[in-house]
Subunit: 339 residues, 2 copies
């Protein structure tokens, strides 16, 4: 009761050998006698000895811990992503230190700071919607702690990123909607500052132009992801003299609110107006009005790729000694899914 976890020294004392002999015996060092090895291993087994990861990593100046920072774990997109990260991490003996930014820059800074204090070996982060200053993250570069961004990536070129091809994906959505008869396609975009919003907008405009149609900025609204702002956006769109016959929402959560508002206004969902969205989350299967078109963004895969990229960088840093700045960029193709 209340014993401390067994240490190498305890084993050493009990067997009257040195701590280093025990350490080497457990590592099957060739210069340790067979008898000693056996006795050490037997006792280690009996005591349930497990190496103190903290001590090893402390000495090696490695923690084998990767910090993961997300805006909201409750969004299925991010819970899928962290599952992908976790899966790959476990395969490589890394563990996940978890933190949320709740889409607030201040909280993001705090949690990132805490992780730096904990000396994580690397950081995987999806930015808060308001993050447009990256100082708190560039501090990591200085100390050669790799940072991998995924999905919500910064507008920097010399960083590691995993993202989906939102530009092409949005063009595809617009194409599909056009092919299916839509002539007034609206977009409820995210906050302007976000790169993800810019990509969507570019794709949207490109898609419209491809259809040899004019861009009408009245059809482009923005939301801060709050239900109120999304409602307001829908309200503006429905109030137009020439209202849209299709609405593309920033993601499935915005979509749900948009639909909820439209429903209140007696709009027939996916009849009067076709609804499109991003992410294609499994939960939408259970919702009253899943989007007619959704852009699958493979969040689990994004998580996997981000962690794989992290492992590569860490291994590379171990061998190479050159402090060349990493800038890997993995772009995952998207898929248009219809219902």
């Amino acid at each position: 009761m209340g014993i401390q976890l067994p240490t190498i020294k305890q084993i050493a004392k009990q067997l009257n050998v040195s701590a280093s002999a025990v350490s080497r015996a457990l590592a099957d060092h060739p210069r340790i006698g067979l008898g000693t090895k056996e006795r050490v291993k037997k006792l280690a087994e009996e005591l349930g000895y497990e190496p103190n990861a903290q001590a090893i990593f402390f000495k090696q100046k490695k923690t084998h811990i990767i910090g993961v920072v997300l805006p909201f774990i409750r969004e299925e997109f991010f819970s899928q992503a962290i599952s992908g990260i976790e899966t790959v991490a476990l395969d490589h003996n890394y563990t996940i230190l978890f933190g949320q930014s709740y889409d607030e820059v201040e909280k993001e800074k705090n949690v990132v700071e805490t992780m730096k204090k904990q000396r994580v070996d690397g950081l995987i982060i999806s930015l808060s919607k308001n993050t447009n200053n990256y100082e708190h993250l560039e501090a990591f570069n200085k100390y050669k702690i790799p940072v991998v961004y995924f999905d919500r990536v910064p507008e920097l070129t010399d960083t590691n990123k995993v993202q989906t091809d939102l530009f092409k994906g949005t063009v595809d959505i617009v194409n599909w909607l056009s092919t299916n008869g839509c002539r007034r396609i609206a977009l409820i975009n995210g906050p302007e500052k976000m790169a993800a919003s810019a990509d969507r907008l570019k794709g949207y405009m490109q898609g419209i132009l491809k259809q040899k149609r004019k861009i009408d900025m009245q059809l482009v609204e923005a939301t801060d992801f709050s239900k109120e702002r999304t409602y307001a956006a829908m309200n503006s769109l429905l109030a137009l003299k020439n209202p849209p016959d299709a609405v593309i929402s920033f993601n499935d959560y915005v979509h749900m609110d948009a639909v909820q508002y439209a429903k209140q206004k007696k709009i027939k969902i996916n009849k009067d107006i076709l609804f499109a969205s991003y992410a294609n989350l499994p939960i939408t299967d259970y919702t009253s009005h899943p989007p007619r078109v959704s852009l699958e963004q493979y969040p689990f895969m994004q998580g996997e790729k981000a962690m794989q990229m992290m492992i590569e960088i860490l291994n590379q840093n171990k061998t190479d000694n050159d402090s060349k700045i990493n800038s890997k960029n993995e772009i995952i193709p998207t898929t248009v899914v219809t219902r």
Copy 2:
């Protein structure tokens, strides 16, 4: 580029003082001269010095890391819970090491093992649906690493638990359904092994008896949470000579599948059959058929309470030296929510 994070020794060398002087200066030790303190603090600021948490905790034999193991982070119940845990943890300078069991005992064992190797200060866990042997967790007792269970708790008495009053909650649901005219109330329960299932069943039976009605075990089905098993359960219920006029599902996810199946069978949801469920997850607001009655289980609060309990235990262990086994049990009242 590629500098290591500043250490106390670097500061000491640059100022020609000893490391201990620097350490004490930063801690405002009274025996350090004012001039020295100033110079040390100034340089520390300039270099952006941050104490190496790993080193401190290593020396103190504390990591200030709490392991959190959940079945599925993608379930909103658990993502809310971990947010509650995180909130309290941050307030007390603890960080969260994250792991999922995916409802598999083997994965649970692995992740728990990894956390032991990482020397977490404590473990907060919601058990996998199949965990009925607690050896891998009792190992923590031996080393006085506190374990707090929440929601899915084990059938042990001498452990720390945070749970909701499922027994009373279920009685309340049955009462509400009876008051609203239901005479044939069915229950789609979870796996038998789970304590949470047993509590629901007891509450269900108590509720029925209270109504001076007989218990019909044909109305009690079980699911392993897979869509297939839930479909099968609904199928059995609907095939009864005397089918139910109310169905209580184990949780909102089971509910969604149950409703989906009933819909296929042309049942009018919440008309022909009233549907009740547990958890009252926000996402149900967007689903086609939210449960008519839901038992709010306050997952965020459960997370908070679990972490608070953890902090208390850790503080208590610090002062008290007696190795008395903790067994705190916090039962959170539930609320019946109707739509």
